[in-house]
Subunit: 327 residues, 2 copies
């Protein structure tokens, strides 16, 4: 590693994060990877994540909804049923107890929506200026049904790539809140639990692999999958669902929606879903905007975006991400 200090890029979820993980965590912890999730027995899945989003409250959610749904989603992507959550709070001296209650209430509501129980926690308080309001770390525990085995190794040439709705909504909400852009309609985060959608896809018998497309967006996830499978991926630009406001925001600030964070979107690899199945999927909660956006193919070696006139451009793993504290 060239630099000897931590930079914001190391927390972006993009290339520098991967380097840091490879250089420090994999090596020291003797792990093939340091994912946020792990299977601890044949049937139990655990996942941990820290949430440092700024601002704490934003259209569509807050650090509380994010910290519950984010970890629930990590657990859900394996096909597991999330059951329990632990929550640890680092709070800055002077933080409003009213805001703390709002956050904790939203955590409980989110947990209840997913029938998840918050069972244990911890609270630490640091002096003014030693954290920025509140940081929350949640750990989720779920049970994996015996017949479920979702894995990137299941992915094959010809598989379709499916998302459950418009991309970039979470980043758009955070950017709008930070920059006070007054976009109309105001972008709202897509923060939502994805367990139900994974379960629906499992019932179709067509699901091979799913990942929630958070930090780094779908472009980063697709690159991670390419690194693992070495199978080519083409995304069709015209098929990518995007809200008009998000498009305006991207044009305004020169951002690429494929790298923006989502908090209620998964990217899934499926084999030959019928139109009827996709129609049924769209009736599921949080999947109204579901769309096939690309496929796994031997036409390319890497991850590519095809635009409306048919030209291909590579979607590379970014070294960093311009938006710290997105989640």
């Amino acid at each position: 590693m060239k630099e000897d200090i931590i930079t914001l890029g190391h927390g972006s979820g993009a290339g520098l994060t991967h380097e840091l993980i490879a250089d420090v965590f994999h090596k020291e912890f003797n792990l093939p990877s340091l994912d946020d999730s792990a299977r601890i027995s044949n049937r139990m899945v655990v996942s941990t994540d820290s949430f440092v989003v700024k601002p704490l409250f934003f259209a569509g959610g807050c650090i509380g909804t994010l910290s519950v749904n984010g970890t629930i989603n990590d657990v859900s992507m394996s096909g597991s049923k999330p059951l329990y959550l632990l929550a640890s709070f680092i709070i800055e001296e002077g933080f409003s107890i009213k805001d703390l209650k709002k956050i904790v209430q939203s955590m409980q509501q989110s947990a209840e929506e997913s029938q998840v129980r918050i069972i244990a926690g911890d609270t630490k308080v640091v002096k003014r200026g030693e954290c920025d309001g509140i940081y929350i770390t949640t750990t989720g525990i779920g049970i994996l049904p015996e017949d479920v085995n979702l894995s990137a190794t299941n992915i094959q040439i010809g598989d379709e790539i499916l998302v459950n709705g418009t991309l970039g909504d979470h980043s758009a909400a955070i950017i709008n809140a930070r920059q006070k852009l007054m976009l109309d309609p105001m972008p709202a985060s897509d923060c939502a639990p994805l367990y139900g959608i994974v379960q629906f896809l499992l019932r179709t018998g067509k699901l091979k692999f799913a990942r929630d497309a958070t930090r780094g967006g779908i472009a980063t996830i697709l690159n991670e999958i390419y690194r693992e499978t070495k199978l080519g991926i083409i995304i069709e630009e015209d098929l990518v669902p995007i809200k008009n406001t998000t498009k305006v925001l991207c044009d305004l600030l020169g951002l690429d929606v494929l790298y923006l964070a989502n908090e209620g979107k998964l990217i899934s690899f499926v084999s030959a879903m019928t139109q009827e199945m996709i129609g049924e999927l769209k009736k599921q909660k949080y999947a109204e905007g579901a769309a096939v956006i690309g496929k796994v193919t031997d036409e390319v070696d890497g991850v590519y975006l095809r635009n409306s006139i048919g030209s291909l451009r590579p979607l590379r793993m970014l070294a960093s991400d311009p938006l710290p504290r997105i989640c």
Copy 2:
């Protein structure tokens, strides 16, 4: 709650922390208590804790050893065998990668000593000034043997109260490091895994309940136990093991060792251990200084300290603790 903002006292582990937990977390999460540990099935125990200790490196350990042993100890107190650990990092921009590696290495060493595997993690980076170096949240998972049922409800009049060595060593090391007191010999933290000691005590057949005496010291733990059991407790001042340097430090700064934090000490309630058993206990690692320091009694209603001339003074639950970021 009178104050409407978070104060350092809310993170002290003492009375204000209890109030905050009762007012915010218990109520919203619909829990009888928000402990750091919980049993999620008959045989699985989980625990989560955030570590914000300052300074990050101190005699006897660092935030890494603390974050692993602290959570391992929480899991161990139930009699469980800790097996897995998840670790989530919040790192300040500009933090030294060399120091990060030292911390991560010490985590791995501590995990190996306890045959615990670090299996998953997360990294977030925040801007300069948005945290103080590095904060680590760990979550531990352990398995409880079927025949073990340690609980404060097992405690009875006549039970003896046992510690595994000198008290206050962790706070002494932190205070010495912060205040640059140059005490000689330099106080070192007692940071250590306590699984082996709990297991030894279980094998004697005499153990009823054990707790690691961290934030708030043994006085806080004893008050928590009194609140739960309503059984009187007397601690004999002359029996409390304390290092000479810690005594000097307490005299110098007007501190009470019974409220100082430990990171490698447990307080256990046992019935009639023989001298031979205590002799054997002292041969266990991290238990050389083990001593019976008091008993459960109907002589008093509350938690009391008896000094060498026989007078009793109450050991109350403090509202706050003068030492933020002790762990």
